[in-house]
Amino acid sequence: MSIPTHSLQTRFLRKEYPGTVALDDVSVSFLGGKIHALIGKNGAGKSTLVKIIAGATQPTRGFILVDGLEVSLSSPRDALERGIVAVHQELSLVPELTVAENILLGRLPKKHGLGNAVIDWRLVFDRAEQILADLGIHLDVREKASTLGIAQQQVVEIAKAMSYEPSILILDEPTSALAQHETERLFDVLKRLKTRDVVLLYITHRLQELHEIADTVTVLRNGALVGTIGIDQATPAAIVQMMFGEVVQRSKPVDLIAPTEAFIEVRSLSRAGAFQDVNFNISKGEVLGIAGLLGSGRTELLRAMFGADPPDSGELIIAGHHVRPTSPEQMKELGVAMTPENRKDQGLVQLLSTRINLCMSSFNRIASHGFLTRAREERLVERNVRELDIKVARTDAPIAFLSGGNQQKVVIGKWLNTNPRLVLLDEPTRGIDVQAKQQMFQIIWEMSKRGISCVVVSSELEELLDICHRILIMRAGRIVSDVRPSELSLENLFAACMKEEA
């Protein structure tokens, strides 16, 4: 093994945004020829760190050393010149161009003479083929990018990155959209890169991948570096401990009613490619959690129950009605509500006011004989603002001005106004601050006390332990177990979700 020559170090990196510290004095070193996994919960500071290294944003304080020399990275172009290339989660290939053009985009070789304006196609294809061959990839460089599968596109992205001959390559969740066998192919490429003394920074949510690919594991929590450990020390217990810290169990209110009889039943619900044969019951006033990793089918299940993406087969039994969900409109009539995962784009109309957003699902209830008046709307909106403690200066100003937590309250308020039986909450606490999270829990418990059943999907497993009566664990599109939070530690829950797909 040769002595590594490339390295990346950060010194006391700090990034402040108005009101929060996204990165708190992070000093860490990465060496060439190794794959360094970077992990942490949402909001732990991973993406901020990556953005700073890639030159997309500047630190408030601190600096970066590349190969032992301090560098100033004031733009992505600067970073590129220092040999730092990032492959982002969203693919950015031009679908109608060939693989070769995509790899060499913006740097297509030209023929000499003729004002250097004519593309030398032979050279384009040769060079692209060479780059792919170096990575051990067999692809027709003349094919259009749009004909490739996602894994192949991901590989082309990496080839494109490698065409810059980087000394530091950052991969932001490259496997999040890949199937198992595709992931393995990608790993083969990455292992080959290791032999070239490249510093590989690998960000992932899939903890089960770590042992397959990583050499070291670096953990961030709340913007601070928790530590770096070698892969041989990275047991699931150690990782959970590092990611979550000492978990303080918040206690549920004692007067939460104990759910009793089955109230809503889900019967053999299936949707091809998402989940199969899902069965469970929900009691009146029950708070039911669904735990599972990204891609386990949890969001798809909620959307199917709400009719947003109708299931292929199966049914719901609600208050004696047997129904196959077909549209949100139909499910709304039956008293089902959903707050979507992507609150900003799917939960709200950002252009419109808080008032209209709050009334949007219940125009028919507010109206008398189809006619709405502002007074009728305002009466309701006032009550929502009071009961949910929405911090809003003027309810007729566009909702885009509200903070994430307040926007989430509006989404919930919108559905409370339909007087629902069952509320499906997809990632209700994503991207909102700690205090707003606590309020969100209160709101969920309050709904439970009023007899509204809730199904909560969250990547924040410790939250599910805190707020739910019962948790279903989902893996690869199936419900694999049904547990009570009191019977389970966070560690066990995590392990249950992570277990290899057989």
Binding site: S327, P328, M338, Q346, V349, M360, F371, L372
Partner: protein
Amino acid sequence: MNTQSKIQSLFTNGILEIILVLLCVVLAVTASGFLTAENLLNVLRNVSMQGVIAFGMTMVIISGEIDLSVGSAVAFSACLTAFLTQKLSAEWASLPITLAIAIAIIFALIIGFFLGVFTGFMRTRYQVPSFITTLALMTGLSGAAELITNGFPLTPFPSWYNFIGGGYIFGIPFPALLFLLTFIILQFLMNYTTFGRSVYAVGGNAEAARLSGINVSRVKMMVLGITAFLAALSGIMVSSEIMSGTATTAKGWELDVIAAVIIGGTSLMGGVGRIWGTMVGVVFLGVLMNGMTLLNVSEYWQHVVRGVIILVAVLLNLLQKEKTRR
């Protein structure tokens, strides 16, 4: 609110209204014959036939769609009304002329409505952009109008028919009354009904609206249907004004109508707009054209000025939005 911020808010929210008033003042001074009841009623009559469509178009654009076929729809419905009147009163049956006209009008309005619904259906069922469907309808309806008239104006109407497009009630032109009535109904529809509020939601974010349990397809089919209905109504007024069904009328109206809507502050991106804004936009363009005609500005210059106005109006709207965002 103190006086200063009141004035400020008037400027940011009512800039077009202020410009319209200023324009009227200037014209009152410079153009002789502008500030007479007769001329002003004339302006109102001139704008009303395009104006009724503009209110519908406002809803269509707010909902995130577009209708390019309204000009052809006007010609088509004018010809269809004339054609049916002729056939029903003479060739297929010998109904009394009044009854024949009544049937023809009702039929033209219904056909118009369903042409719009068809566009909405293509949009929501097969994801054909309304731009494409209405572009096809624009050509198709224009051809259909030529076909049923055989290329010559049809003139089956008795003289009293001229009332719809040219008559007066208490000194006010009848088309202007229809224009005002349409304004009142759609203003009410958009602001005080569940349907109207849904239009804003659908145009602002169709996916969020769908996930709120709003029937997006129905909303789109309805707004396009209402607009095509209003285009048919406009066609009936036109056929009455010129006392014939002529296939070449109303060429290019779609652009005038869209221009008025945009000047009135409606965003082509959807989700934003007001019926009142369109009212101001329509009147503004009407007054401007009338004033320039009174001042003997050549027609070519009128076109140039109108082009500039469209651009400036949109620019003002965008600048204003940027300001409020800060």
